[in-house]
């Protein structure tokens, strides 16, 4: 008889299904090597694992409970910090394994560049993949700090892969004039400047499609999400994001991969950004799991 209860913090609360049995696999990728402003997104996943315990497993907004699904928190990927190319390869391999095992990868960044190799791994399997991108910044530069691979170029690199009419950008409120011209004038990407009002229409059009969802958490207003490298005032509120979650839940899109990036916990003095990231994680995992329920 076990009299005493000793417990380890090992996984995100209620994400302790074995890898083999899980439908969704969460993993941390602590890379921030091309971050040009405030660094520290490397610490996001470990800060979130501690903070997540303050939430409940049940979401009243979605009326879904983590306890009812099979999610595996696989821990953090070990990375060759200091060598960007090697790190990108490691993320690619790590994600590919999960995708090849027919599980949905859910990556916690790190900076936004980590989306590139994760998306590549998903894209290689599903080919016809649309990207829904929430962000404050365009991330459409051709190169940045003399590097083609950067947090500021990541969506341009994905556009190099998928081409026109595949990328849908929301919440964008910062970029160079050239980036906006590229997105808006040539219609290379769908970008709605400053507002996210037409989100439902677009998601409706994506029903039945494979979708990779990447959320740069700085899409949220700095009032609720100060803990990030480059805060940009004028963002969406958490309640607006909640409405987006409801739309995602109600629309029949295939979420084949997902990531949330750019939480930098050491700039999050009051922890509200970390809590918000945790709640976003919970809601998105619930939405993905809820969709898989009908599939499997």
């Amino acid at each position: 008889m076990k009299k005493n209860n000793f417990s380890h913090i090992t996984t995100f609360m209620a994400m302790d299904t074995t890898y083999e049995e899980a439908n969704v696999v969460v993993y941390g990728v602590g890379f921030d090597g091309t971050t040009s402003n405030r660094p520290g997104t490397r610490f996001a996943s470990s800060a979130m694992r501690l903070e997540f315990d303050g939430l409940e497993t049940y979401s009243p907004t979605l009326n879904l409970d983590l306890e009812d699904f099979k999610v595996c928190d696989r821990g953090d990927l070990e990375l060759s910090i200091g060598n960007t190319d090697k790190v990108l390869e490691e993320i690619y391999e790590g994600t590919k394994e999960i995708v090849n095992d027919n599980k949905v990868p859910f990556m916690i960044g790190g900076e936004h560049l980590v989306t590139l190799p994760a998306f590549k791994a998903v894209y290689e399997k599903y080919k016809d993949v649309y990207i829904i991108h929430f962000d404050a910044h365009t991330d459409l530069r051709e190169s940045y700090n003399n590097n083609k691979n950067s947090h500021a170029t990541v969506i341009k690199r994905i556009w190099d892969i998928v081409g026109d009419n595949k990328i849908f950008q929301f919440g964008i409120r910062s970029g160079t004039k050239d980036e906006f011209n590229f997105a808006l004038k040539e219609k290379h990407t769908y970008m709605e400047v400053s507002t996210i009002n037409t989100f439902e229409t677009i998601v409706k059009n994506l029903e039945g499609k494979n979708v990779y969802l990447t959320i740069d958490l700085d899409v949220l207003d700095p009032s609720i999400f100060p803990g990030t490298g480059t805060p940009e005032p004028g963002g969406i509120t958490y309640r607006e994001l909640e409405n987006i979650f409801k739309i995602l839940k109600n629309r029949n899109i295939n979420l084949v991969g997902c990531d949330i990036v750019e939480l930098s916990p050491d700039y999050d003095n009051s922890s509200v950004s970390t809590v918000a990231a945790c709640k976003v994680l919970r809601e998105l995992i619930l939405i993905i799991c809820d969709k898989l329920k009908f599939k499997n």
Copy 2:
């Protein structure tokens, strides 16, 4: 002739009426013994007394001025920290004395469990008391950490006393599935998930009734109220709370007791939570005093 002006910080600004003459009595209760997440609400009242000086005594929203009313700040209740049962008894006795002297008690927590003994003291005098409860969390657990008395069970304990149809919960956005089922499906309490839109209708129905108002300040969004134990994104803005204050002012309810709880100043790096708590305190005191004016 006094040439020099030395002054002590002794009370909340303009709440220096003697206990005997006062109609409303403010007191601090620095207990956070069952707090499961970030502690520190014990420091709320002393942090607020310092910060309150940055406000004015006049409220343009309510067009009322603290200088025109008789409020006594009685200081903080001394507590047997470490022994939850004894502390609850001490709060009960402290509140009872105020209630018995026909004054309205206004308690500054401390964690939410302090509402239980304060409410009991009020309930014993007025019996037919309705509870208006603002919070991010249901607080309807049957027990928590093996304890029946906890910040997470406090409204359930009050329901044990008053039963159905007495408790009105607003702003709730976190809880277990069971707690929501208890509140919503059995109609044990009135709870409006995620929104507070029908507040006016409900308060209208309570006109002429005795009401105890308990505000867990984490009902506010973490963007404006980060300094609390368990911040929960998706809360109401301060301006929404201001509209609630206007409704409370305009409706003829008898506010027989009030508390604000769960400010944790050491997590409030920029002091905005403490300032918000102070402004809530000022507005609620003004509303209570304004109603008493017509009574006395």
Copy 3:
């Protein structure tokens, strides 16, 4: 041939036109000597110069780019800290020089009292000047801490100069009963309590007029602007301020002087206030430059 790139932080990014060629001159005034609550606005301009680099030069909201205009960052004015009268004189002289050289002065405070001498210098040149004033506080006291010149009296001092029907106050939500009575009942100033809805109508009426714009950044809600001396909950959001910028851009008013005041960087733990101040600076400079374009 220069092989290596060494760079100095010398000016706000893209505000490096020489004084002689510039149309708009930005300068810092680090005075906070009458601040009664939290001090530190003295550090605003140097904190902003560092933080500004995280922004882009292009504004998607206004579709204007700093690179296209001639702005000079002249650095900070050296002040006789400790002697309020002397400091006011120094600000007056510094602003006068810019005004006399037919450039638009854009001052970064400092506490709000610095607006008085800057406005005086502008007023002496243009005489018929209207004041648009954004603030949380009335700043209409007759005297404060025994001083006639104070951050709490500055708008009253400007009223002493310009008289009735010249001052338009927005976002005000704090003051004494007397201050509100002065503003509202006697119509000495136009003040819209708590809301800013009629801003467009008023600016429309000011078309063709000379306008001095002073923004106490605490008009923003403390959720997005905690880093200030006296945060006051219930303020406007950054997106509301963006709408104001659009109106200012679209209406034909002559902006003959401008200031933003009351950022206190050491209370801005997460830097979001400093970033917000930088974005306000960029948008206002763009608006002023855009108007001058048609004039020159």
Copy 4:
């Protein structure tokens, strides 16, 4: 073939021996229920597990390496927070199990009261146990806040068990006159006021004896250990503590139980206290393991 490296933070680095094989068992006890000043020691063990990774497993001071020993980090004990008596019982049972399995318990508090039940469990097995106590405070009150069991009474409670001539206090620099009188004048405990110079002599006299070592980390000066509930200037430096470690290593005492208490990570802005606590943990574990080597 495992291509990718995912890792979980599960234990203190290099303390991942199974419970069955381990000689020393580390466990966290997150209780701070009687803390009268700044709370938060509940977070010590989880903060330390993250921070510990910044250290090496090898100690040049002791010339010993964690990799060479069998240590089990058993995680944190689950506690009935809110009920002090129940919590003390849970700590007692948790420690007893380890002691009964012939392993050395190494507890990470929590506040200092947690030493009482842990010591009891050790004492019941070994009976003849001496206590070496490092602290800034006497902890010899008879009762505190109306409670006999408190962080301020814990050594008095241990004296109730062991009586005179068993307790050796070092680094003490704060207490009531009565507490110092009790310790010094009646020779109930050995206490050296303000200095720790005679430590070596005393440890020499304890050779061959069973010793329980309890270190309230606030014995360190607040310059190196600010992150604690009640910092007290005038403490020892880390290098002085290192000398104490060398003495402990070189003297033949039987360390039958050990704890380090009173780290409060949320008051440790720069993490130096947490790092210091981690280094103390490493050195003490190494010393205990080194002694066991010769025994087993």
Copy 5:
């Protein structure tokens, strides 16, 4: 029978003797108007009143207890913030009243300039007064920021009053070459650069004399006293200051006035500076009271 204990924070713990009965009078002077670097010493006394409760009334170092003496905390002097000359006058008048009532004034700054008017008031009564000055900085400039009265000129202004051979400076490690030349080469003041070793000899020579003691707390090393406007590495440790206290206790000098200045609590994230200031306050008050005991 009083059943409930409500208490106000009104005075420093155990400094609640009435003004009339007190021998030593403590008062706060929240002026920081000439501070050129980080401001905020205005908050020192109120931060200290809260923090002081974490200490005991008994000092084991001095074997004296505050409970045994008659000390009055008179609160804070109300000041005309913004007008340096008026403020200096107010401090002078406030101190003079205490001195004239034959009580020892103990001022808590504020910036160092506040010492000038307080010293003047003391000097006018006792004339033959020596100054013991602890500081990191010389404070011997002739003028600073165009002002003769400044935190950087205060000791020079006192030298203007008392002349050569009266001022003894300790712990100094920063100043201009001219200031050091003034102090060292002309022997205008006694200054021991970088060390404080000969303190005892000097105090011995002052036996029987009237001494005003002014401690700029930045004499302490920034490791233990970060919370100040201009931290200067290389300062004394708290234990070195304790030895100074012992010397002051043991030598027969007449302490006719005392101040401690330059604590800036908002830069004291972990509160260790505030705690250190409180402990310095306690020890100095005990020393002064102990000396008075033999006089009265």
Copy 6:
């Protein structure tokens, strides 16, 4: 006639000699790409330029004044952040230009890896160069995170260039057993564990030699230098470092290059680390200039 004083923060105070005339050239290198623990040393030079103004130009310890020497602050080197190899090349080229122009390069890191390319540039010119290395960590790993070039391998890489008997390490208190074995047992480097007592003897032996001095500021104890990536308790105090400066001043060594690294300002809440780094910068520049005086 210039009436008003506008000033830009352009260089470290009193380091405004033109590049051409200067003897010593200071430059910032904001690279932290291989940092494995807390990042942010990229911000060191800009934080230091602001903080430096709080110091004086005169050093009483050395009796030397910056005003008397020709130092050029050349600003920060622009780097291809994200590509470690390219960055190392850029630092090498930047340093080489200065060395080739017969000026002494003084680099402000950045993480410790930046020393490698800077040292290479110096070594190529002077060949027979000794390295004096202050650090808490050995930095002697062969590879780290799969990279040969890392902050944890930098001294090993320098040993690859210079071989045995050239490197003198002081203050080291952390490393793997292998690193210590490499340094101590094979005598590859001179390393004195835990103490720095024999520094004078060694420097005496280096008289007449070319010396490159690299100071990882984490050699200082975390009490005075918390703002760094990997704080390690047990370090030297600032006053011990001051004694080292005096020795360096008094011994006839040729300082042909110098760097200070590993200040991470965003972890330096109270700024004491940044101030300490500034003071180290001032003292070392003064020492180098003082030596050059006799040479030129």
